[in-house]
């Protein structure tokens, strides 16, 4: 039973991959392309969050901090050391992992709700810090200058991770990251770390009694989550060629990341991707059609969704699918 379920999933994954690879050649509108990139980005962020929040059950409401670490690290290394953002991305991921260890070590000893509160606090502290630290751009943020070709036009360059004429590579990089995370999640789902994460989520003490080093596995989940979130931060910085505290550290970003995963279905492989495909277009649409006050309206929608999901369908859209199939 499980075997056919697995190859069925793989088939769907391949079909989806194929469809998404072909998609930009069929629909070439820049607006749609941008939307898709955002969907992949948020799917990736949600999948990374899912490892620690969905599987291990440790609800982080501060994952944005790793997003910022990634984006800022690669940008600062680029500005001050002329380091390629690809290298900067790795550096950012490593820094994020260290930060996750430093934060997680004391904070994971606190029970579930306290961990969530601690992550909110750390996120807010980071926002205040970065907004007031002039050396890293303060509230104005950092701009990445165009790399120009011989005729002075903004160029497409893989070395410097900028694609100004043809933005397609951003699309494929984001897509690749999303599928890498899906693959990692699927692997975790089937193997020891994933089993241990889920055991911790269900009952920490029972897990301990079976030999699970709970602190170590919580840290592992957090570190994995942080690393991938940071990589996505670099992608974001290179895509917009701009980064500032408000867009990378605000609490609403951390909440949105969690919400995408929760809406889609925590602890599942496809949930975060599904959640992103539903929520991000919704957010963009409300922003576009409800004009200047769109910013607040999408927050209202997020809030309403959180309430609806918690009350009616905690398992998210994936759970709804299971219910409809009569499981």
């Amino acid at each position: 039973m499980k075997k056919t379920h697995c190859s069925g999933q793989t088939l769907i994954a391949l079909a989806l991959a194929l469809a998404l690879v072909v998609f930009p050649f069929i629909v070439s509108s820049p607006v749609t392309r941008n939307l898709m990139i955002l969907i992949f980005l948020y799917a990736g962020l949600a999948q990374a969050w899912n490892i620690v929040g969905g599987f291990a059950g440790q609800v982080s409401l501060g994952n944005a901090i790793f997003f910022a670490v990634g984006g800022y690290t690669s940008t600062l290394l680029l500005q001050h050391a002329a380091l390629s953002p690809w290298v900067g991305a790795i550096a950012g991921a490593m820094l994020a992992m260290i930060l996750a260890l430093v934060v997680g070590w004391p904070v994971f000893r606190l029970g579930g709700h306290y961990f969530a509160i601690a992550t909110i606090a750390i996120g807010e502290i980071a926002l205040a810090l970065m907004a007031n630290w002039e050396a890293v751009g303060g509230a104005r943020g950092l701009t990445i200058p165009f790399v120009r070709d011989s005729s002075g036009r903004p160029a497409d360059t893989w070395v410097w991770f900028q694609f100004n004429q043809n933005k397609l590579p951003y699309y494929f990089i984001a897509l690749a990251l999303m599928f890498t995370l899906a693959g990692l999640t699927a692997w975790l789902d089937r193997n020891k770390p994933g089993f241990y994460f889920r055991a911790i989520k269900n009952d920490q003490d029972a897990a301990r009694s079976l030999g699970v080093n709970v602190l170590r596995y919580k840290l592992l989940a957090f570190v994995l989550s942080a690393a991938f979130t940071a990589l996505l931060g670099t992608l974001y910085a290179q895509y917009l060629l701009f980064i500032d505290p408000e867009s990378t550290l605000a609490l609403r970003l951390s909440v949105l990341i969690a919400l995408v995963a929760i809406l889609g279905g925590v602890g599942t492989v496809w949930g975060p991707i599904l959640g992103s495909f539903v929520l991000i277009p919704l957010g963009e649409l409300s922003r576009a059609h409800l004009g200047g006050s769109g910013r607040a309206v999408d927050l209202i929608i997020y809030g309403a969704l959180i309430v609806l999901i918690s009350v009616f369908q905690p398992a998210g859209l994936m759970g709804l699918g299971r219910r409809l199939r009569g499981k």
């Binding site: 039973m1 499980k2 089937r190 193997n191 020891k192 089993f195 241990y196 889920r198 055991a199 989520k201 269900n202 009952d203 003490d205 029972a206 897990a207 301990r208 009694s209 079976l210 030999g211 699970v212 080093n213 709970v214 602890g267």
Partner: protein, 242 residues
């Protein structure tokens, strides 16, 4: 050398002394029963031995190591496993997955863990329910699942905390059979129990606690005749009945 040695174990919570200077041993391949009234400190002893509580005083030795104050997961790695008085099933995981969590202690390989888990499920008579969600089992099945899960860690000592509670007579018989089978596999058992009809027949030795102190220790027949034990716990109707 005894497999488990408890010496002068004392645990206080603020002003309350839960257990006071408790000492006994469990030899390899024995079944030792730990009995006593509610609040006597039986589960406290379990929690101290398995690392969930840090003893206030006293020493614990297991399989040649001193384990006083060790964390639960470390103790488990030394081949000691326990069940809980109130079942702690991993509700969202399937029956098979529950047991696999235990099996993963001994292997990092998923296929191996699955094989080992299925084997234990067979032994425990739960194979038919392998794909069912853990949270959806009956209480008796959950208790068996918890035992299966603990067994999957391949312990030398299995500590059972009131596995018989809440079971009907037929389920109890089945559970007693299981305990016998487990011992036949070479696993030592320390069990806390309230159901005398169950624990007296299968135990090699009984340890009796009352108000945190050990008041008697010996073979079941001896215990059943012990005045102190009868006064504290068994009642006159039970005298010598076993």
């Amino acid at each position: 050398m005894a497999l488990l040695e408890i010496r002068g174990l004392t645990k206080t919570f603020g002003g309350l002394t839960a257990i006071d200077d408790v000492s006994f041993r469990v030899e390899e391949a024995e079944i030792v029963g730990l009995i006593g009234p509610n609040g006597a400190g039986k589960t406290t002893v379990f929690n101290c031995v398995s690392g969930f509580y840090e003893p206030t005083r006293g020493r614990l030795h297991f399989a040649g190591h001193e384990i006083t104050g060790w964390a639960p997961h470390r103790v488990c790695r030394l081949d000691m496993a326990r069940t809980f008085q109130i079942v702690r099933t991993f509700s969202d995981l399937s029956v098979l997955e529950n047991v696999m969590v235990g099996a993963f202690l001994r292997t990092g390989n998923r296929a191996q863990a699955e094989r080992a888990a299925r084997h234990v499920l067979e032994l425990m008579g739960l194979a038919a329910k392998a794909e069912m969600r853990g949270g959806s089992l009956t209480i008796a099945e959950k208790k068996r699942l918890e035992m299966a899960r603990a067994l999957a860690t391949k312990p030398r000592l299995l500590m059972l905390d009131e596995v018989m509670a809440g079971l009907n007579p037929a389920e109890r018989q089945a559970a007693v059979e299981l305990v016998r089978q487990v011992r036949a596999e070479g696993i030592t058992i320390l069990m806390v129990e309230h159901v005398m009809e169950v624990i007296m027949p299968i135990s090699d030795r009984i340890v009796v606690l009352n108000y945190g102190r050990k008041i008697a220790e010996g073979r079941p027949e001896t215990i059943a005749r012990d005045d102190q034990v009868i006064a504290a716990y068994l009642g006159e109707k039970y005298r010598g009945r076993h």
